[in-house]
Structure formats: structure tokens, C-alpha cells
């Protein structure tokens, strides 16, 4: 497909700070179909700066779908209309010339807006710090085949480990639940022998932190799974439920 110019209206949420009352503002911007959505925001920001206006604040880092920093709720979808892609992997060819594109921050009580489109996702870091790790002294690297791991288990663990911690699952959830994220972080270890040792403590600690930080209760609507840029499956949530319930029953 040949590259074409595209002019769209971005309806962007502007909010000066965490306390301020925000509002939508419309900006017309011309980009090209091969330009990414975030680059289009860059183009718009450059224009705003040159006019002496405040540029739009939004999160981003790697811009190649691996860091989980980008966010944005675009036309009703976290990470926009593309499936299995982060916002930084979204290109303008997804939109029509002249389209009005509504861009909102993640909205969930546990992710308060800091400024414009940027939200505070520290809650996820706190959940990770509560137990999302394995604690052993690594020492020298072992032979990779010293501990045999069945292929299916390794695959499931890898699938869970692709979660980038972006928070789209929470943004998509009508219950503001972080279960998809937490279940991925619990599963990536619980499936492997190295992580199994601390599985019970991990599940309990991470769920307790998740509850404490005010995330909601999962009602299995599957919206998270549909919007997750990494295709994390809710079968991980079943695994988390299992790990947690068994751990609690043993207490």
C-alpha cells in the first residue's frame, strides 16, 4: 500500500495535573499512513511547542512493543483498534482520512491521571514487589538442561511471561480488576520448577497487595483478554485462582 497523507482530528483528554478537572480538546493534524500513532502525536506536539502551547503528555519508551510504557485508550480500545499490538505498534493506516479519533487516558481508580494521557501505574510495581520474583542466589550459571521442563509447561510459562505490565487489562475491565496481570506474573513462575518453591507465598502476597491497592474482583467478562496486546489468556486467571485457593486452604 502506497504511503498517503492522512488528516485526522485528535480529540485528546487534557488535564493539567492530578487534581485539575480535565476536558477534551480537538486538534487537527496531518500525518501519513505509514507514520505511527505516537509519531503523529509527536508531530502534533512539535506544532504545539512551536505555537508556545503546552505539549500533550503521554507515556512511551521502547516504541517496539516490549516495554509496556505506552498506554492510551483510543476510540474505545486500550492500545487502539489493532489487536495483539501496543499503541506504539499502531499505524495511521488503521484510520480513515478525516476521522475523529478520541484519545483518553486509562481510567481506573487504582491508576489516577498524573497529567493529560499519563496515568500512575506504580500500583503494578507494588504488586510485583510483593512477590513477583524468585529469591535465590544465582551463583554461576547452571547447565540449561540440568532441570528438565516439559515443553508445554515451558511454552505456557513463556506465554505468561510476555506480559509487559502495560495495564490495558485494568483499563478494559468494567471492574477495574488487575487479575490478568497478576495471573500472568504468578503463572510465569508457578509453571516452572524454579518458581514452584515459592508459589504459595507468591500467590497470597500478590493477591493481598492487589486487593489492598483497590483493584476490583474479576467477573470473567474476558474484556482484558480481548484487549491485551500480548494475548494473555484468562486460563492464567484460573491458574491464579487455583494457586491462591489451594495455598489458603493449606494455611
Amino acid at each position: 500500500m502506497a504511503e498517503k497523507n492522512i488528516t485526522v482530528t485528535l480529540r485528546v483528554w487534557r488535564q493539567a495535573n492530578a487534581k485539575a478537572k480535565g476536558e477534551f480538546k480537538d486538534y487537527k493534524v496531518t500525518s501519513t499512513t505509514d507514520t505511527s500513532f505516537l509519531e503523529t502525536l509527536d508531530i502534533l506536539n512539535e506544532d504545539l511547542v512551536s505555537k508556545g502551547e503546552e505539549p500533550i503528555t503521554f507515556d512511551h519508551d521502547c516504541r517496539e512493543g516490549i516495554c509496556g510504557m505506552c498506554s492510551l485508550y483510543i476510540n474505545g480500545h486500550p492500545h487502539g483498534p489493532a489487536t495483539l499490538a501496543t499503541t506504539c505498534q499502531l499505524y495511521m493506516r488503521r484510520f480513515k482520512d478525516g476521522e475523529v479519533i478520541t484519545v483518553e487516558p486509562w481510567r481506573s481508580a487504582a491508576f489516577p491521571v498524573i497529567k493529560d494521557l499519563m496515568v500512575d501505574r506504580n500500583a503494578f510495581d507494588k504488586i510485583q514487589q510483593a512477590g513477583g520474583y524468585v529469591s535465590f542466589n544465582c551463583g554461576g550459571a547452571q547447565d540449561a538442561n540440568a532441570i528438565p521442563i516439559p515443553k508445554e509447561k515451558a511454552d505456557l510459562a513463556m506465554d505468561a511471561a510476555t506480559c509487559v505490565g502495560c495495564g490495558a487489562c485494568v483499563a478494559a475491565c468494567k471492574n477495574g480488576s488487575a487479575m490478568l496481570f497478576v495471573s500472568a506474573k504468578v503463572s510465569q513462575f508457578a509453571l516452572l520448577p524454579q518458581g514452584k518453591a515459592e508459589a504459595a507465598r507468591r500467590a497470597k502476597a500478590m493477591v493481598a497487595k492487589m486487593d489492598e491497592l483497590g483493584f476490583g474482583n474479576c467477573t470473567n467478562t474476558r474484556a482484558c483478554e480481548a484487549e491485551c496486546p500480548k494475548g494473555i489468556s484468562i486460563s492464567n486467571i484460573a491458574r491464579l485462582n487455583r494457586e491462591f485457593l489451594v495455598a489458603k486452604l493449606k494455611d
Binding site: 480529540r11 478520541t102 481510567r107 481506573s108
Partner: protein, 232 residues
């Protein structure tokens, strides 16, 4: 076990266990109603047996408790989830394709179910089990269930309300059944789709079983035989 019911997953466990328990009861109740489709006297024999049976009374009490917990936790969970979601709503929302409508409206569906149950208890339980316990007299008596069924469902408006109620129950169950299994953690990549399918089939069988009886009596087709079928 410490503090399990103070956790989000623990609260969901209460929903799941009570929900599955109610599902079992529905299955029993639906099967019992089908007897009425065939024979009034046979149905009355069941009514008589259950009405005077202490086990049935105890089961009713446990059932009521199950309902109370299911409903209380439904509200607790919904209130917590609203709070977690926060007051700021999105200007534009789009429902992803795989999201069932029922899964996002379980409370509303549940409330319709409760209102229906209230009506249903007034129509039958109050006139039968309660009347028998309280020694009250009424037009058909406490064990002539078949007469009560014919009386109520013979009124088109009543039959219509029952059908609406049962359709709401169908929606609640299509999501509820597999959701309860998922909450128990009894799921993986393969079984998740299977449970969803079983859930739809199960909800359809149960609700169709109920609806057939309502419509059959409304249209005057049931009971099909007016004498005891097998010497009951």
C-alpha cells in the same frame, strides 16, 4: 483458611459455590416440574412427599441461606467493583467481540431473578409449604400443586411474566455456570471453551424445561394424562 473470605478471590469463591448450589437446585426443580407435564396426580404425589418431609424442609432452609449469601455477595462484589473502576467513565467505549452481554449485566439479571422468585414464592411456596406449616386453609390446599399450576399459568399475564423471568435466568446461567468453574480454578486453555459451551447447553436445557411447563399449562396442553401414570 485465615482471611480467605476477606480476599477478592475468596469472595468470588462464595459466589461460585452458592451459585453452583443454586444451579443444582434448579436442575432438581426443573425435573420435578416435568412430572407435572405428564400427570397431575403424579406431581401431587411428589408435592405431598416433599411437603411433609423434614429433609425437604431442611433443604429449603439451606437453599434459602445459599440465596442470601449469593445475593449479599453479589452486592458486595458489585459495590467494590464500581469503586475500583472509579467515577471517571470513558467517552467512547467499544465492546470486544468475545465479551458476553450477560457477563457485564449479572447484577441486573440477578435482580430480575430475585423479583421473579419473590413472585414465585407468593404464588406457590406461600400457598403450599408455608400454608401447610402454618396450618392455613386456601382454595386448592397445600399439596395440590397441579391445581395451583393450572390456576396460575392459565392466566396469560402470569405466564408471560414467568417466561421473561426464565429468559433472564437463562442469560444469568449462560455466563454464571462457566464463570463459577473458572472461579474454582478448574480451567485451562482447552476446557475454557468447552465449559462455555456446556454452560450454554445447560442453561438452555434447564430454562427450556421450565418454559415448556409454563407454556404447556398456559395453552392447556398439560398435563397430558390426568390419571396416575404408574400407580403413584
Amino acid at each position: 483458611m485465615s482471611g480467605i473470605f476477606q480476599s477478592s478471590i475468596g469472595r468470588k469463591l462464595v459466589m461460585s459455590i452458592t451459585g453452583l448450589f443454586l444451579v443444582l437446585f434448579l436442575l432438581f426443580h426443573m425435573s420435578m416440574n416435568l412430572v407435572a407435564a405428564f400427570s397431575g396426580p403424579a406431581y401431587n404425589a411428589v408435592c405431598e412427599f416433599l411437603g411433609t418431609n423434614w429433609y425437604a424442609l431442611a433443604a429449603t432452609a439451606v437453599l434459602a441461606l445459599g440465596f442470601v449469601f449469593h445475593i449479599i455477595y453479589a452486592f458486595i462484589l458489585t459495590i467494590r467493583n464500581r469503586k475500583a473502576r472509579g467515577n471517571n467513565s470513558y467517552a467512547v467505549t467499544a465492546k470486544p467481540k468475545n465479551v458476553e452481554w450477560a457477563s457485564q449485566n449479572m447484577l441486573v439479571l440477578g435482580i430480575i431473578v430475585v423479583v421473579g422468585i419473590g413472585l414465585h414464592l407468593a404464588h406457590f411456596w406461600y400457598k403450599m409449604m408455608f400454608a401447610e406449616l402454618a396450618g392455613m386453609e386456601n382454595q386448592f390446599g397445600a399439596t395440590d400443586g397441579a391445581a395451583w399450576i393450572t390456576y396460575w399459568f392459565g392466566q396469560p399475564a402470569v405466564a408471560a411474566v414467568y417466561v421473561v423471568w426464565l429468559v433472564a435466568l437463562w442469560f444469568h446461567l449462560t455466563h454464571g455456570f462457566w464463570s463459577a468453574i473458572q472461579t474454582l480454578g478448574w480451567n485451562n486453555n482447552i476446557w475454557i471453551e468447552r465449559w462455555e459451551c456446556i454452560s450454554k447447553i445447560f442453561a438452555t436445557v434447564v430454562c427450556a424445561g421450565f418454559i415448556i411447563v409454563v407454556l404447556g399449562f398456559a395453552l392447556g396442553i398439560f398435563p397430558m394424562f390426568n390419571s396416575p401414570v404408574c400407580g403413584a
